[in-house]
């Protein structure tokens, strides 16, 4: 168990973390490369940058836009995201791992707030699952991965909370810790290959859709030729 834990904490963590970073870089670069190519081909290169920036900021800080339509769902989603992003980054125990590993450290959340955020994230996550299951529309849209993500993301939070706050036997602690770490690492590996890639891609969405309506010039003939339809009537 000890060795397994050490392996998970050490080499496996480094490997999965690098996979996540490289994977996210890959999709980001592919996306931006596609956009640059599209821009190069666009017949009209004037883009409404300002509008795209405003819309992007509105969704990254969705205080106004989100609440206009589905306030309850939005609140859950925002709390969930705050917890997902802040807790792992600013938890003292995590920061100590970084310090031991590569010697960097930063500000940490006080214990009470870390617990509070963890509970909040779990409640928000359960709320989102319920929301998905309860709404006919959302049910029709949901794929397996949409449920899977809400579920798997909660595992590190639940196990982490148990380890930090309950008096359990050392072997149970180790078991929970192992699940905590492995689930976290599974998440790392899957992030770049799934919809969670939105954490780096979402900020460029508005630019992509602004650009996507700028078509390349004069493609009628080319498409007709490829489809062997040249000169055919409408």
């Amino acid at each position: 168990m000890e060795t397994l834990l050490d392996f998970a904490r050490g080499p496996l963590f480094r490997l999965t973390f690098i996979i996540m970073i490289l994977g996210l870089l890959r999709v980001l670069i592919l996306d931006i490369y596609g956009a640059v190519e599209a821009y190069r081909r666009a017949g009209d290169k004037r883009l409404d940058w300002k509008n795209a920036i405003i819309k992007t900021l509105r969704w990254i800080f969705p205080f106004k836009s989100a609440f206009a339509q589905r306030p309850f769902y939005s609140a859950l989603s925002i709390l969930f995201h705050i917890g997902l992003i802040l807790t792992p980054l600013f938890l003292l125990a995590h920061i100590q791992l970084w310090e031991d590993g590569i010697g960097i450290s930063w500000w940490s959340l006080p214990h009470f707030w870390a617990d509070f955020l963890t509970i909040l994230t779990i409640i928000a996550g359960l709320g989102l699952i319920t929301g998905r299951l309860a709404s006919r529309g959302a049910r029709a849209l949901s794929r397996k991965q949409d449920y899977f993500w809400l579920f798997i993301l909660l595992i590190p939070f639940i196990t982490g909370y148990i380890c930090a706050n309950t008096a359990i036997s050392p072997s149970a602690y180790q078991a929970f810790m192992l699940i905590h770490i492995l689930a976290g690492e599974l998440i790392f590996v899957l992030i770049p290959f799934s919809k969670i890639a939105h954490c780096v891609l979402m900020p460029i969405s508005q630019f992509i859709i602004t650009l996507a309506w700028k078509f390349p010039a004069r493609v009628d003939d080319k498409i007709a030729e490829t489809l062997k339809k040249k000169g055919m009537p409408v």
Partner: protein
């Protein structure tokens, strides 16, 4: 927006079809709109070929890649879709509609998707999916409200736009649009309403006489004047159905001394390509542009029509030289400028009834022309009320995306597509509903009729015609002539 209830009779009417069972059987297409006969065999393969050809030569691929990566399936867009709000059918959720095409893209055009598909043996395109797309993409009014609401930034309307384009390449597109476009690009009259030149000239002369009689001022439609500032091109149907709008525009030009002309060689700004085919879009744009080159006008001015204005404004630069292309304006921009410059006077004492304004999606959604018409209206209407939501967040008339031209789906448009709009109009209690768009006007007239709302649908320039004030100099011209 709340979910909107319709009665079961309304529902039945909306979804009934006038198509003959044998046609549906023969075309293997259970949709409500008519389609010209096309090659039914091998549809899936030909769909993929068309998809591939389009991806190869256009810019869609990078957007699809992005959408496939980020789609979160959160269902938030459902609250914005006027169609889903009425039907309540999960298949009408914008994200569901988009997924039809995105999943084909993923399965057939990405490595991960095709590997996965081969292993699971699922998800390949088939006839049923094609039929579902043919129905779903034309249930949508292309109003682009859903795009406002997608938190990860998926443009569902772009996907529908592309889906319709691919379908049209295998022969599936509403007959009403295809037949009109054929006349416009290849027919004798060269316009979608098939109006021959003599009829056009007659109509305009008739209107000129009318205007002189009513206003005591000589108001002309200058034809084929080389070197004019504006080549004025309305939706051609205006010449048949919107005489008041045209008279209002001519009156504004006369009062302000503007330099404009209508070409008798080409006088149709309608561009159904925006609704079903980028290839058609391009051909119509080039035809319009070459007319302005031929007549050496400084710019192109589109009449009261949302889709015609948007397609010209955005795609003239795309296909005709980018930044160097001649500018394109909408008539409301001109009228507003004249008002600002003090060249146009409108009498605030004539229209006392309650007036409301409908934002056409194609000019309001992007925030292009939203405040200017309101400022024009407020100079002559005391009783102006807003519909809510409005401006960039307006609700579609229910006939957007070309569906208004498909007469056989009128019940669908006026009970499903336009139900949310009808409720909005009713709530204002307006006597005049201003809609500066040929498509919106037609749809809204049918809507108020079918929904039993007592309200007159007019163009902005229809009212301007009623309230425009000519100064003495203009009046003299006519009296001298008479004397």
């Amino acid at each position: 927006m709340r979910t909107i209830e319709i009665t079961s009779e309304e529902r039945e009417k909306a979804f009934s079809t006038v198509k003959k069972p044998e046609v549906i059987e023969k075309q293997k297409l259970d949709v409500r709109y008519h389609v010209e006969d096309y090659e039914v065999r091998d549809r899936p393969r030909r769909f993929l070929e068309a998809f591939a050809a389009i991806l190869k030569h256009t810019n869609y691929r990078f957007a699809l890649e992005h959408f496939v990566r980020v789609s979160a399936k959160c269902s938030r867009c459902s609250v914005q879709c006027p169609v889903y709000q009425v039907t309540g059918d999960p298949k009408d959720i914008p994200c569901y509609r988009s997924e039809l095409l995105l999943s084909i893209y993923r399965r057939h055009f990405t490595l991960a998707g095709s590997l996965q598909g081969r292993i699971t043996g699922k998800g390949a395109i088939n006839d049923a999916i094609i039929e579902e797309m043919a129905e779903s993409f034309w249930n949508c009014t292309a109003c682009r409200r859903c795009t406002l609401e997608c938190p990860v930034g998926i443009d569902h309307a772009l996907i529908t736009h592309l889906g319709r384009f691919i379908l049209s390449e295998i022969g599936i597109a509403p007959r009403a649009l295809v037949v009109s476009t054929r006349e416009q690009l290849e027919g004798k009259t060269g316009n979608t309403s098939a109006i021959p030149v003599p009829a056009l000239v007659d109509t305009l002369e008739f209107l000129e006489e009318d205007m002189e009689e009513e206003k005591g001022v000589e108001i002309k439609f200058p034809l084929d004047r080389e070197g004019a500032e504006f080549l004025f091109t309305p939706a051609v149907s205006d010449f048949l159905m919107e005489a008041d709008t045209l008279m209002g525009i001519a009156a504004v030009f006369t009062a302000t001394g503007g330099s404009w002309t209508i070409s008798t060689n080409y006088y149709d700004a309608i561009n159904y390509g925006l609704f079903y085919s980028d290839r058609i879009l391009e051909r119509v744009i080039r035809k319009l542009y070459s007319e302005s080159v031929r007549l050496k006008t400084d710019s192109i001015l589109i009449g009261e029509c949302g889709h015609a204005s948007r397609s010209a404004k955005y795609y003239v630069p795309v296909h005709c030289g980018g930044e160097n292309a001649k500018p394109v304006y909408n008539i409301m921009e001109y009228t507003y400028r004249m008002l600002q410059e003090g060249k146009l006077k409108l009498d605030p004492g004539i229209i006392t009834e309650v007036v409301t304004y409908h934002d056409p999606c194609n000019i309001a959604r992007q925030g292009w022309i939203v405040d200017r018409p309101r400022e024009i209206i407020k100079t002559f209407c005391k009783n102006f009320v807003e519909m809510s939501p409005n401006r960039e967040e307006n609700i579609c008339c229910g006939g957007g995306g070309g569906t208004v031209s498909i007469d056989e789906i009128r019940p669908y448009r006026t009970t499903v597509g336009g139900k949310a709009k009808a409720d909005q109009i009713r709530a204002t209690g307006a006597k005049y509903l201003i809609a500066p768009c040929a498509n919106c006007k037609k749809q809204l007239r049918e809507l108020v009729e079918d929904q039993g709302i007592d309200c007159e649908v007019v163009g902005l320039h229809d009212l301007i015609y009623k309230v425009i004030v000519f100064d003495k100099a203009h009046k003299k011209v006519t009296s001298e002539k008479e004397g």
